[in-house]
């Protein structure tokens, strides 16, 4: 009797869930001074010309909150955002229809547990080019490009920001306050101008390992995301 009651409860819960939930899309879009940034397209910032050729990063534990309570989250703990294509710069979450939310939060990077636990399939597969080969650890954020202002080989800049061990743990928490009614699309802008200006001003054009230079870049992460 108890088992049949439980089954009826589960049936109605599932039916209710199907009617109340929608699949929403979280998409990321990079911007430079409010203009959309496209991979391999020339840009100017404070009269410095450059092109970004590769921009990828990990988003972990993506969550949407209302009054401190979780209302939606990504089904995948780790999402890899890659601006090579639109499809790779977004992921899905389950939204409750018409439910408001006031916080979008996530971590930029991969946690230390995944960094020491061996190899994973999917988004964390080292085949994605987001895992260092000469030492262990994920690259949390990869920004590559060219600029005549970079006096480096082939005028390239390459920022590979990663590392999981103190004092060079590069994962950063991002918390974005918002005021939204339930909607099925969230567009998160990555505002690159402050980070790029810092890079050009300080001539930090190559980061390939955890260290103080990488920390100075990672410390931008909590403040460069906003909701459109």
């Amino acid at each position: 009797m108890k088992i049949s009651g439980l089954l009826i409860f589960l049936f109605f819960s599932f039916t209710f869930k199907l009617s109340g939930q929608k699949t929403g899309i979280v998409s990321f879009t990079p911007t430079i001074e409010k203009k959309s940034m496209m991979i391999n397209k020339p840009f100017n910032l404070d009269s410095i010309s450059f092109q970004i050729t590769n921009l990828k990063y990990y988003i972990s534990d993506f969550s949407i909150l209302y009054k401190g309570k979780l209302v939606a989250s990504s089904s995948q703990k780790y999402n890899l955002i890659d601006f090579e294509s639109v499809e790779k710069s977004q992921f899905t979450v389950n939204f409750w229809e018409n439910l408001p939310f006031d916080i979008v939060t996530f971590k930029l990077g991969v946690d230390s547990l995944a960094s020491i636990s061996g190899v994973y399939e999917g988004n964390l597969d080292p085949m994605n080019g987001m895992y260092w080969t000469w030492q262990s650890g994920f690259i949390n954020f990869k920004l590559e490009g060219i600029s005549p202002n970079c006096l480096t080989r082939q005028n390239k800049f390459q920022l590979h920001i990663g590392g999981y061990q103190a004092p060079f743990n590069m994962m950063r928490e991002v918390v974005i306050p918002v005021n939204h009614k339930g909607k099925n699309e969230i567009i998160i802008e990555l505002n690159l101008e402050t980070l790029l200006a810092y890079m050009f001003k300080n001539k930090i054009f190559n980061i390939m390992s955890p260290g103080q230079k990488a920390v100075s870049i990672a410390d931008f992460f909590p403040t460069i995301f906003s909701i459109k």
Binding site: S115, S117, G118, V119, D125, P126, M127, T133, Q135, S136
Partner: protein, 334 residues
């Protein structure tokens, strides 16, 4: 009751899913540190890993395999070569270490740069002075091979080859490289006895070496400076490069001492060809640098020539020909 039966069945399946026959070690060995639950050993995966290990397809120009620098007859080291070799006759800056008892290690490479066996193969595959390729390039080549597609399907029940599957298969084979049947082991098991010379060597070993080269694995697998002067042609700072901590300067991984007859030359840069040279270093050639290991700082190793011979006699009891010449570890193709 049904729940209990189901739970019992799940536990039972879990128990039998890791066949003991694929990974055996003596009772006096510690528990392995490798998490087998995340990569349960399976004979088809081990075979696949073994084929990959011996296949130069892992290198950019299909010329270098893992076995090129980790030969089974040298206890998976590279005898006669002080530094590793790579594609286009390139030469690396470290001595290829012997590969055995990897399930008991959680840091790999001489500087501990790699934190998990599954990730270790990425380093040589990608290094320009070793295989000069990339994991994605390797996966692409394997996906073009009908033989490999079949093997991966057989092993993983999925014909799509991924980087993770390649690395897990390589780990599977390497995990089975257990060296535990040397004379030392046979003495431990009561099957043989030491000679008087070996017995004396064992006492000297316990007094002078055991604290870093701890039985029965003959290493703590930690990092230490053993007072080797820096080779100015390499300027290798060891673990400092990985941790960026000054106190880790010139620290290298303490190697296991099994199979020394098969795996010379010795040290991270292969500078010593004989065990006698190694013992001479520890007794009279140590460079007392600031961060030399506490053990070497506190206790000077003093051995006369007879004692050195006795100690070497004991070290030779750590040779494991059953491991080195075991055909199950040797070359395998499709």
């Amino acid at each position: 009751m049904k729940t209990f039966i189901l739970a019992f069945f799940v536990v039972f399946i879990g128990y039998i899913s890791q066949p003991d026959s694929l990974f055996e070690y003596p009772s006096y060995f510690p528990e392995p540190s490798y998490n087998f639950k995340e990569n349960i050993l399976d004979s088809t995966k081990i075979r696949l890993g073994r084929i990959l290990f011996y296949d130069p397809i892992l290198s950019k120009d299909n010329s270098i395999s893992c076995a090129s620098c980790h030969s089974p007859y040298n206890s998976f080291a590279h005898t006669d070569h002080s530094l590793s070799h790579g594609i286009s006759d390139s030469i690396g800056n470290r001595n290829a270490p012997a590969l055995f008892n990897l399930a008991w290690q959680d840091k790999f490479m001489w500087d501990g740069a790699i934190n998990h066996l599954d990730m270790q193969a990425l380093a040589p595959i990608s290094h320009s002075g070793e295989m000069g390729s990339s994991l994605s390039e390797v996966v692409s080549k394997l996906n073009d091979s009908p033989n490999y597609i079949k093997l991966f399907y057989k092993a993983f029940k999925d014909s799509t080859i991924t980087g993770a599957k390649v690395l897990k298969a390589l780990s599977q084979f390497q995990l089975t490289l257990v060296s535990a049947n040397s004379k030392y082991d046979k003495v431990q098991k009561g099957e043989q006895t030491y000679t008087e010379q070996e017995k004396n060597g064992y006492l000297l070993f316990k007094k002078n070496c055991d604290v870093c080269h701890t039985e029965p694995l003959f290493s703590t697998y930690q990092f230490a400076s053993n007072g080797l002067p820096v080779d100015s042609t390499l300027n290798d700072a060891g673990r400092w490069k990985i941790t960026a901590r000054k106190e880790d300067s010139l620290l290298f991984k303490i190697p296991g001492l099994r199979n020394l007859s098969f795996s010379y030359p010795y040290m991270h840069d292969g500078r010593f060809n004989t065990l006698k040279q190694v013992l001479n270093h520890y007794t009279s050639e140590i460079n007392h640098m600031p961060n030399i290991s506490r053990e070497l700082k506190e206790q000077k190793i003093s051995l006369n020539s007879n004692e050195k011979i006795d100690l070497i006699a004991f070290l030779l009891t750590l040779n494991d020909p059953d491991f080195v010449f075991n055909k199950k570890n040797h070359f395998q193709t499709f």
